[in-house]
């Protein structure tokens, strides 16, 4: 297995409470050449957005401690983290979910189950310089 470890590699903060999904997404994104930082709840996500300075945040919406909508609002209200693009992940996929995520300040939105190629496209579109691809 080849894991790229270039210094210019984009860093993604994945905030997801489900361990299997966290492992699955981080494994697949890692294999695509991204560096991954993981958080298990909204507060951890907010904290790591500050300490790790990621290039992009994948934010599950249904999170313990602090939910994804609240986390997105806090991150976008803080000058230190406002510039980090956020892709919301939601398992609801109901009418209004997309609008709620965008209202909270998320830059884009995707649904579970995740279509990986589609998610990659959204990640690459939001990364400066079009990501690692």
């Amino acid at each position: 297995m080849v894991r790229e470890n270039r210094p210019d590699v984009a860093k993604i903060l994945l905030v997801e409470d489900n361990e299997t999904n966290r492992e699955m997404l981080s494994w697949r994104l890692n294999r695509k050449g991204y560096e991954l930082v993981l958080a298990e709840d909204g507060q951890q996500g907010i904290d790591k957005a500050h300490t790790e300075n990621p290039d992009l945040i994948l934010l599950d919406m249904s999170l313990p401690v602090v939910d994804g909508w609240t986390a997105a609002r806090q991150l976008k209200a803080d000058a230190a983290t406002a510039g980090i693009p956020i892709i919301a992940l939601t398992a609801h996929a109901m009418a209004g979910d997309r609008e709620q995520a965008l209202e909270a300040g998320c830059d884009d939105y995707d649904t579970k189950p995740v279509e990986f190629a589609r998610l990659l496209g959204k990640i690459e579109a939001l990364l400066p310089g079009g990501g690692n691809a």
């Binding site: 297995m1 109901m94 995740v114």
Partner: protein, 69 residues
């Protein structure tokens, strides 16, 4: 079944489904070490069991969420 109940059920079912779908795609598409294969297969199995339990709890359980109940 009320709309909030259905919404919650749809949400709860999608979480294990996400892992099952994603990890089975990885098994089908990627060259993996035997350790990764076993780890991912175990996780798929655990999430499938979770999915089954959720269905039993919500639809076959006490009847609260059964259509027409």
């Amino acid at each position: 079944v009320s709309t909030p109940d259905l919404r919650k059920l749809a949400h709860d079912l999608r979480a294990p489904l996400t892992g099952i779908q994603g990890l089975s795609e990885v098994l089908a598409e990627e060259d993996l070490s035997s350790e990764d294969v076993k780890n991912f297969a175990r996780r798929i199995n655990a999430e499938a069991k979770r999915l089954g339990q959720l269905i039993r709890d919500s639809l076959d359980g006490d009847g609260e969420a059964r259509p027409g109940a």
